[in-house]
């Protein structure tokens, strides 16, 4: 049976994709716009693509300019993530997601974090403020 979890909408939009889970904060400047891969040396997702994925991560980092610019370059080449599930908010990350119109939610229950695994299909529905893990 599909499982549903509540969430809080930050940037509206409905999205579906495979989950990619990062234990570390993300700076989108350190991605390759041609492939959507994380390029930051030593990052837990180094070499993995976030293009079209639902990215689950603790939060953003880096300066006000480069975070937005990184996400912008990914979007220009169509390699942006489909949706973002984030734990900690900061102004730069929130405004970048809203401006680039990438669905982003936060305040998800611990039960979702326990159920989620890399590669699972995840649906974000910001009309209903839910996250769905289909069968």
């Amino acid at each position: 049976m599909a499982r549903f979890y509540p969430c809080k909408t930050i940037s509206p939009g409905n999205a579906q994709g495979e989950a990619v889970i990062s234990s570390e904060e993300i700076l989108f400047y350190f991605t390759d716009p041609a492939t959507g891969r994380i390029t930051e040396h030593g990052h837990c997702l180094e070499g993995q693509s976030i293009a079209g994925k639902i990215l689950v991560f603790p939060g953003g980092k880096g300066s006000s300019v480069v975070q937005a610019d990184g996400l912008y370059k990914l979007e220009q080449s169509g390699m942006q993530p489909a949706g973002l599930i984030v734990q900690n908010l900061d102004t730069v990350l929130v405004s970048a997601a809203v401006i680039m119109e990438i669905p982003m939610v936060c305040e998800v229950p611990d039960s979702l974090c326990l159920a989620l695994e890399n590669g699972m299909t995840v649906k974000i529905n910001t009309d209903e403020n839910t996250i769905e893990l289909p069968d």
């Binding site: 930050i10 937005a68 912008y72 405004s95 809203v98 936060c106």
Partner: protein, 401 residues
């Protein structure tokens, strides 16, 4: 969020598509941080960068017909005039800066191109609600001037300028402005560079709002700029307190709201010397240039360089990035020409983080007194040896070895 009738109308498009877009972004940010309302801002500074997302967003706002309700000052890009007259500007770079300039001019921004607006062009007063992006400006305005601003992104600051409002959360609320980390400084804070090194201690200081204790009683403006700037290279800080300096914090107890600090940290002489040694160990030779002015140099700093260079001559190029304000003063008082004869060039409107004009330094080694300069110039493979201003200039005179 509770919106006034005017704000509701703005959101509904009564004041045009551009203001509606900006209001939508600000309410989304506000709701994320559980802001109750949007409050008026009277000063804004936008960290313009002339990079992809910056131009795209500014042009998008122009196309939507947005005009700023509060004219913001802007960060530097690069001086078309300076680099073009020296044949150092590609047609693409010229076009890129022109597009940025056209967009921000259409929006009604004041094209000041300075990253130290709080010194000359856009000076808040204590308690004033502002929206200042540019991390070195955000922290100075909160900590030294005592005005209020969140750590805005370029986009949210521009939206605040367009609408004249900002969501009330974070550093705009008095309860969030108290220090929670006591930082005892047990080190010789003898020069400006010591304050830069102290700023680079973010890892040890940890997250939060630090109150610096045991500092000399009379830090200079330049030292406070250096501290705030480098804190945002080693970490992410919106504010610090120094008792007797920070408005509203006459004592350590007042700085932390009469509550015990959550953390206590001691920065020792060893910590600062260790970082000095780390920098020395990563030095490369030969150095081919000196880059000063990250953030933009004050007139005081320019005079110090001039004094040092009095009976000397630099044999590698020395660049000082500064505001148009300072350059105008230096020109009219003869300092600009004196420095030029010593091989020291003052440049206005320009940031070190602009690969379209500094890309030719890729693969080369230079010297700077700013860790922030080293951090950003590494993004286009220019290596910077970090050391005090005097050491930079001594090397420039000796030939960069």
């Amino acid at each position: 969020m509770l919106l006034t009738d005017t704000q509701r109308d703005m959101l509904d498009g009564k004041y045009g598509k551009g203001k509606a877009m900006a209001a939508r972004i600000l309410t989304a940010v506000g709701e994320s941080f559980r802001a109750v309302r949007l409050v008026p801002v009277t000063r804004v500074h936008v960290s313009l960068s002339a990079q992809g997302a910056d131009i795209w967003f500014a042009e998008k706002m122009v196309q939507a017909g947005a005009v700023c309700a509060v004219a913001p000052t802007v960060n530097p890009g690069y001086s078309v005039c300076y680099f073009k007259s020296r044949s150092m500007l590609s047609p693409d770079a010229e076009e890129n800066m022109k597009r940025t300039e056209d967009a921000y001019r259409s929006l009604g921004a004041s094209l000041t191109y300075s990253c130290t607006p709080y010194l000359n062009e856009n000076i808040p007063i204590r308690g004033e609600i502002t929206a200042f992006s540019e991390t070195s400006a955000t922290i100075f305005v909160n900590s030294v001037i005592g005005a209020k601003t969140n750590r805005e992104s370029a986009a949210t600051a521009l939206c605040a300028a367009i609408t004249g409002f900002t969501p009330e959360y974070g550093m705009l609320l008095d309860d969030n402005r108290f220090a929670d980390t006591a930082v005892y400084v047990e080190a010789d804070m003898r020069d400006d560079f010591s304050y830069s090194l102290l700023g680079m201690m973010g890892k040890k200081i940890g997250k939060g709002i630090p109150v610096f204790l045991n500092l000399p009683v009379d830090p200079t403006t330049e030292q406070l700029i250096a501290l705030g700037t480098q804190l945002n290279v080693s970490g992410s800080y919106e504010m610090f307190h120094i008792p007797g300096i920070t408005p509203g914090s006459p004592t350590p107890e007042a700085a932390s709201g009469y509550k015990p600090p959550r953390h206590t940290v001691t920065i020792t002489q060893q910590d600062l010397d260790g970082l000095r040694e780390d920098y020395a160990a990563s030095n490369k030779t030969p150095a081919e240039f000196v880059m000063l002015g990250c953030p933009h140099y004050t007139y005081e700093q320019v005079l110090k360089v001039n004094e040092f260079m009095k009976s000397r001559l630099a044999v590698i190029p020395v660049w000082i990035l500064t505001s148009r304000h300072v350059i105008t003063l230096a020109r009219s008082l003869g300092v600009y020409d004196e420095l030029k004869r010593k091989n020291v060039q003052m440049i206005a409107d320009t940031c070190i983080d602009e690969s379209p004009v500094w890309g030719f330094l890729s693969g080369k080694t230079g010297l700077s007194d700013s860790p922030k300069c080293a951090y950003y110039m590494a993004s286009f493979q220019a290596h910077i040896n970090v050391m005090s201003t005097e050491c930079c200039l001594e090397h420039a005179v000796k030939g960069g070895t």
